[in-house]
């Protein structure tokens, strides 16, 4: 039986950074790669055509949201998630674990699973490793994620360890329950910011026959230095494990570099589209907030170095007006730009790793965004 995905990568001269190609049933993904988030089977305000135009190669959709509405059974009857949302490229679905622990009204965690109340209507819901597999198989994503227990990395070590060990037991059950051969399954390393726990978790998860390894439990409130240190520990522990590596919930421009250099291949985050809807544009001159009054009179494009439809056709003045007038077009044009910017940045990272210009790129982007650029990814805690 051929694997549902294949991953080929090569080392670069930049730290542990690698260049790779992840091949899925719905197409190939160049890595390092960023996945925009289509929580409810839509990357907010954008069409599949917009995503293609922005250079998007793979998107993430949320198991928790889609199982509650419109229902994974309904999506399966309609031909699966790709057809339902008219996106024929690769899709990764999360397991629902993140939302259960961050968005739902949590009832009770036991060894078998989690009972919670829907954030939509308060109805009682239950998620177990087996159920998470069933839902993701119904959705028909290219890549499914194991069901994990997320905890705040700053909790007492005992609680972090308990959650990690439960995550390992659930990982085994996910592998046992997962039956769809055209769908890959990734395991999730937990363990908070405790080096010893992370080593234990890598040994456990990497010891199982997952198709890829995700690093969870980061970008949830810890410092940038803690994240980097934890990624170093994970990278050391993974050593020459050949599988694709996915850092969950990271998506601010300055944060990609530190993670890419530590061997990360895949990222996802709601940040580019979420901040866009507040008026924050990511540009070649750093962050610009279109709600700032000074932009009301600026005739130039939002980002003079960007070729997206927004920057080709529209001025900062127009975007500033649309945001002040609460016009729907504001959210669309800003989202299209930020997704394009993020895809362009990942492409420049790949090019830089290939031709040796990565260091220069890193300097340029870090100067544009500085440390302040890293604060806003806290927003991702409430529902990446």
């Amino acid at each position: 039986m051929p694997p549902s995905i294949t991953f080929a990568s090569r080392a670069t001269t930049t730290g542990r950074a690698r260049l790779g190609v992840l091949t899925t049933p719905h197409g190939a993904i160049e890595t390092p790669q960023f996945m925009p988030v289509g929580t409810q089977a839509t990357v907010k305000a954008l069409t599949p055509g917009d995503l293609r135009a922005a250079g998007v190669q793979v998107i993430l959709a949320n198991t928790y949201h889609l199982s509650l509405r419109p229902g994974h059974d309904r999506i399966a009857r309609l031909g699966g998630l790709h057809r339902f949302m008219a996106w024929d490229g690769p899709i990764l679905t999360d397991s629902g674990g993140f939302q259960v622990f961050s968005l739902a009204h949590l009832g009770k965690v036991d060894d078998d699973g989690v009972t919670f109340a829907s954030h939509l209507d308060g109805s009682p819901q239950r998620l177990t490793p087996e159920r998470a597999m069933e839902i993701q198989e119904a959705l028909g994503s290219d890549i499914a994620m194991a069901f994990d227990q997320l905890v705040d990395a700053t909790l007492a070590a005992g609680e972090v360890a308990d959650a990690m060990e439960r995550t390992h037991r659930w990982a085994e059950r996910c592998l046992a329950a997962h039956s769809r051969r055209d769908q890959a399954l990734f395991g999730i390393v937990q363990g908070g910011v405790d080096d010893a726990l992370r080593r234990v978790s890598v040994a456990a998860i990497a010891g199982m026959p997952f198709d890829g390894i995700a690093i969870g439990g980061l970008s949830v409130g810890e410092s940038k230095d803690q994240m980097a240190a934890t990624l170093d520990v994970v990278a050391d522990a993974l050593a020459d494990d050949p599988r694709v590596r996915y850092l969950m919930g990271v998506g601010a421009p300055p944060d990609f570099f530190s993670a890419v250099e530590r061997g990360i291949d895949l990222f996802d985050c709601v940040l580019p589209t979420r901040v866009a809807r507040t008026g924050q544009l990511w540009t070649s001159v750093g962050k610009l907030n279109m709600r700032n009054a000074r932009f009301l009179d600026e005739p130039g494009p939002p980002d003079p170095d960007c070729g997206c439809e927004t920057c080709r056709n529209h001025s900062r003045a127009y975007l500033a007006h649309l945001f002040r007038a609460d016009e729907l077009l504001a959210y669309r044009l800003s989202s299209l730009h930020n997704v394009t910017y993020t895809q362009d940045l990942m492409r420049r990272i790949r090019t830089g790793l290939d031709d040796g210009s990565y260091g220069t790129l890193r300097e340029v982007v870090m100067a544009q965004y500085g440390r302040s650029g890293t604060r806003s990814d806290k927003a991702s805690v409430t529902g990446r």
Copy 2:
């Protein structure tokens, strides 16, 4: 000095219906034609590219809204309304009169003009015929409208007559104040649903050197029969006046026919986009409300006879989901469809008038929409 617009039309075999071409500084407009409304310099949720794809040839923008925000002076400094909103086709601006009398908190009408409070911040504002010309010249639309006093057509005849006579005096002042030679100016016939007043108003307005004749004060609460009777009176009074004729505020599919047969060339209304945002789609099988639960499981396109991006790529089930999930994409996809439907309908009307199939088209559309299709245009009263 050549006129800023030219209009050439020919009679058809269908009542008083005509086929024409209105040539403006930003391109030609085939008539009969419908103008989508871009109140705040954007047809809500749609880009200029969407409008072109939908077949839109001319849009309407609102003087009242744009003068308050972002300000007509600012738009002029930024190169005018076409550049500001990145729409290089023809634009018609209304005079602000409709909004002053329907949306603002009206202070006082005197013979010189109108004092009112902004609906945005309550700030005191003043609009006069001269000011309405100044604002529209600053915006740089292809077609400006005279400043008129709108009243409820069901008011006592004395009040309707007073407003009509003031509108005539203001029309003279608009002509005197209007100086931009690359911008056409249309007069507005008022007079409510009183046949005698309408004849007086046509004589007054058509007696002035306007570039086109608009019929105002309809689609504001009167019955369909009253509207048709009033259009008959106006058409009789205009006789063989060669100028383009514009019925303001009409935009429901069944209402086009009655007006086209009475010689109307231009229409505008917020209806196609406004109802779209509530989930109501206009289709070849009549109105469909995407919030209806039955659509959640329908895999077919919203309108099987439509070639718009929405109908080519997306299912009724997906739209029904997007509306229930309050996703921004719902408003965009539905607006794109309804604008496309309306443009297609106008094109079919023109073709029908040309090749004699108009009667069949009328029967088909009236059967699809029936009388119930005409009720919802009441919505246009609050801000077409």
